[in-house]
């Protein structure tokens, strides 16, 4: 990459043609704060938080949308940069109800982090509350307009990442609002409840309804696992408190899904806590009713019955259907039982449906 060098915070760094300043900084271990920037999507430069100072340029430049150029001199932490970012943050804090006490995103909120970083402990501007009603008519997603900062990440997640085309910027100027279709409820629009908008929201404007008041960011342990639904194999991050899943997000860099999920993977986890779960072995009585039994009794009964059938009719009179939902190790163990202990190859699963 001959000659593709610029000066970043006083240091000479090489870059690839076509990279933005934000990307060059990231490659060199420098974090530039961002709000509206969503990886892999068209930069909008809407939030003005990622501004940097480029020598020779009249105004500060949005690093997410400014391409790196040979010989450029960039300062990401100058006095002027700080002052501007702080002012932008102060305006955002004044635009709505940013009290963090019971906000679900508290502790994992970009706006909160910016306020802290720039030491904003007094609100300089008068607070202008948002005029829009919250929308939470569905069981999964709460749209809290009072906390929306109009960064547009949700729109990009919906339009560019998932390509579901359900939400857009509606109205202009001071009435700007993120709308679903012609400004209707999510469940009356094209929305398919993938929840990608929610995962992209940097503040508490789009939050998981089922997770409300079940645990704060700092209390949640994050455990990576694989989705139990379809064969794509999306990587999920379980947010767990005291052995209970409170919500699910997509693992941002994980393969194959790169942070994306669908409605089932994101919201279909809590069947495990259903009161209908089977909790004890059951044995059917002569009268057709089930009764609870101990493990030993049920296991003995099954083993003895299988042995009896093998003796009478041979092992091929026994057949088994394994499970395409459960872990590999269970299927392995079941075919081993059938082949090695029972002595038959009558083992199958619904491989074909």
């Amino acid at each position: 990459m001959d000659g593709y060098v610029l000066t970043l915070n006083g240091k000479q760094v090489a870059f690839q043609p076509g990279q933005t300043i934000l990307e060059v900084a990231a490659d060199n271990g420098i974090t530039i704060p961002t709000l509206c920037h969503l990886k892999g999507c068209t930069p909008t430069g809407a939030c003005r938080i990622c501004l940097v100072e480029v020598t020779g340029a009249r105004s500060l430049m949005a690093s997410c949308s400014t391409p790196a150029e040979k010989g450029m001199t960039v300062d990401t932490e100058s006095e002027r940069v700080h002052r501007t970012r702080k002012l932008t943050t102060e305006f955002l804090l004044a635009s709505g109800r940013h009290n963090c006490i019971t906000c679900e995103r508290s502790g994992a909120c970009t706006l909160q982090d910016l306020a802290y970083k720039y030491g904003i402990d007094k609100l300089r501007f008068e607070n202008t509350p948002q005029p829009f009603e919250n929308e939470d008519m569905n069981p999964f997603i709460i749209r809290d307009y009072s906390r929306c900062i109009l960064c547009g990440r949700c729109v990009q997640a919906c339009q560019e990442v998932q390509v579901n085309r359900a939400i857009t910027f509606g109205y202009r100027g001071p009435h700007a609002k993120i709308v679903a279709g012609p400004d209707v409820r999510y469940d009356q629009s094209e929305c398919v409840f993938c929840g990608q908008c929610m995962q992209a929201c940097p503040v508490g404007a789009l939050v998981e309804k089922k997770a409300k008041f079940t645990g704060r960011a700092k209390e949640l342990e994050k455990v990576r696992t694989t989705c139990p639904y379809c064969g794509v194999g999306c990587q999920l991050m379980l947010h767990v408190k005291e052995g209970k899943i409170t919500k699910v997000t997509g693992v941002e860099e994980g393969s194959p899904n790169k942070g994306r999920l669908c409605v089932k993977g994101r919201f279909g986890y809590d069947f495990i806590y259903s009161g209908d779960r089977l909790k004890t072995p059951l044995i059917r009585e002569k009268n057709g009713e089930f009764r609870e039994a101990s493990w030993d009794e049920a296991l003995d009964l099954v083993a003895n019955k299988l042995k009896e059938i093998i003796r009478k009719d041979g092992p091929d009179a026994i057949a088994g259907v394994s499970c395409a939902r459960s872990i590999n190790e269970d299927s392995y163990q079941m075919q081993k039982l059938f082949r090695a202990a029972i002595g038959t190859n009558n083992i199958d699963h619904c491989a074909r449906t």
Binding site: G231, R277, T280
Partner: protein, 527 residues
């Protein structure tokens, strides 16, 4: 899949056939839509105007079950107009002459008559497919769930080989697997003819290897029964005991009345499950099992990727992991097995016995999983199969196949084709999604039908109608939608009430024993 989801991003053209990806594999569909937005072309072959139709460069709404005729027609054009990849076919394939003489019978005109796609459109699609390399082909159950399912699969493979689209990044033949671990259950040997890692039970060396590993004198050599044969065995007495692990056969198999009769005939039925289901009603013993987030293990996805599943909560009551239940039974039958956890089973048994997975160990899949074949612990895994045109058995086999119609076709009494599938908001019989709030988004089954047919029958949207087949009948709401072509009714099997499987036909592909869920004949009546 021969290829991987990551390659969707760089694909130049997709051929999607019999795959309602936005609903059945939603996240895969997002990558496809991204590629289309970036300029990739999409050729969609599907009787329904399903959601991907909005993104398709060409949508070919073929008649249900006409895939082979349509594909043979495409290949006819490719060969007649000399558009196929002669080089690839000569170097990497065998059987070209046989294939050629078969597809020559399928002129575009003949293919058109069967598939309903105009002959010139067939020519245009063939030329479009040949204009770009590689084309990535994805299919799902629209291909396999037919009495000619195996032949459908062969047809798709024929086409991709003829186009030279195999062994290339962003190409290949990619069946998207329905369930999270259907690939894994196959890999693990939960099939009647193979041990873990697809080693044939009929092969004496393979048997000797597993006899030694499992410490038994003699393993059975005769391949076993497939599910439909097991079910029939329950009635004719050849099968006395059936053990069903986690499947809800009473709702998922075609012709519910027949299935329930079969289950009720079992002398002894054992079930492992996490919930009482329509199937456990017939059991003599039910074992309560640990669920998805209550045990450590692995799933293998469609792209052959083995990924970790982690335990975060304890199983309720006395429920226990499934592997433990099988181990306890083995013990009572005189077999002491050492492995005492998912990780031990994988690291000490599966990866030792299945050469394709030898390099996959738990410590290597803490983050992203690995894609088999992964023969040793330094191997990075294999995203693309058949690289350089090298197939497992040396050359790729082009196999001529003839079109055959579905076993049951519409007639005067049952004038509609019933085709079935999945809907976005539910999974199979809803044992999971029905308990996660998703009923809110989809509370009941519907019979999807075209505005034209609805008008002719005087049926309004959301009106309850009767759908009848030779097997049974259901009452469901009509969902009048442009998605469905005239002459078709489309339903799913997520709900017991109105389940399509009261209607479906229990006929099977003779080789794979896959049921013809995609086509049977029904009548629709206003009540």
């Amino acid at each position: 899949m021969t290829n991987s989801f990551g390659e969707f991003a760089h694909a130049k053209m997709f051929l999607v056939i019999g795959s309602n990806m936005t609903e059945a594999h939603p996240v895969a569909a997002t990558f496809l839509k991204n590629a289309v937005m970036d300029g990739a072309k999409l050729i969609l072959v599907d009787p329904r105007k399903q959601p991907l139709a909005d993104f398709a460069t060409i949508h070919a709404p073929i008649r249900v079950g006409s895939d082979i005729a349509f594909i043979n027609g495409l290949m006819n054009v490719l060969i007649t107009e000399d558009l196929y990849d002669r080089d690839f076919v000569e170097k990497s394939c065998e059987g070209f002459d046989e294939l050629k003489s078969k597809v020559m019978e399928y002129t575009p005109e003949k293919a058109s008559e069967i598939s309903g796609i105009p002959a010139d459109r067939i020519r245009e699609i063939a030329r479009t497919l040949a204009s770009v390399k590689p084309v990535m082909c994805c299919y799902t159950l629209g291909i396999t769930e037919h009495t000619c399912g195996r032949n459908n699969v062969l047809s798709v493979a024929n086409l991709q080989m003829l186009l030279g689209n195999m062994g290339l990044e962003s190409g290949g033949v990619n069946p998207l697997r329905g369930q999270n671990n259907v690939q894994g259950a196959c890999d693990m040997g939960a099939l009647p003819n193979v041990f873990p890692g697809y080693q044939q039970v009929a092969n004496a060396d393979a048997r000797a290897k597993f006899e030694k590993a499992w410490g038994v004198e003699k393993l059975p050599e005769k391949p076993g029964l497939m599910i439909p044969q097991m079910m029939e065995g329950l009635v004719d007495g050849k099968v006395k005991a059936l053990w069903i692990f986690g499947e809800n056969l009473a709702n998922t198999e075609p012709d519910i009345r027949k299935v329930e009769h079969e289950l009720a005939s079992a002398e002894f039925l054992v079930c492992n499950d996490i919930f009482p289901t329509e199937t456990t009603r017939f059991a003599h013993v039910v074992f309560p099992a640990a669920a998805w987030s209550e045990d450590d293990g692995t799933f293998t996805s469609s792209e052959r990727r083995v990924s970790r599943v982690r335990k975060v909560s304890t199983p309720p009551g006395q429920s226990r992991p499934n592997w433990w239940i099988f181990k306890e039974i083995a013990k009572r039958m005189g077999h002491e097995w050492a492995s005492g956890s998912g990780p031990e089973l994988w690291d000490n048994e599966v990866s030792v016995l299945a050469p394709a997975m030898a390099g996959i160990k738990y410590r290597r899949i803490e983050q992203d999983g690995l894609q088999w074949p992964c023969p040793n612990e330094e191997h990075p895994g294999t995203p693309v199969l058949h690289k350089g045109g090298v197939f497992t058995s040396g050359k790729g086999r082009l196999t001529p196949v003839d079109w055959t119609p579905p076993a049951e076709v519409p007639d005067a009494e049952y004038p509609f084709v019933l085709s079935t599938g999945r809907r976005l908001y539910h999974y199979h019989t809803r044992t999971q999604t029905g308990r996660s709030g998703l009923n809110y988004l989809l509370p009941e089954e519907t019979a999807d039908m075209s505005p034209e047919d609805a008008l002719a029958l005087g049926i309004k949207h959301n009106e309850v109608v009767r759908v009848r087949s030779r097997r049974g009948e259901v009452k469901v709401k009509a969902n009048v939608t442009e998605q469905v072509p005239k002459g078709m009714v489309w339903m799913a099997f997520h709900f017991r009430e109105g389940n399509a499987n009261w209607l479906t036909n229990a006929v099977f592909d003779p080789f794979t024993q896959t049921a013809e869920y995609k086509a049977c004949a029904v009548a629709v009546e206003k009540i």
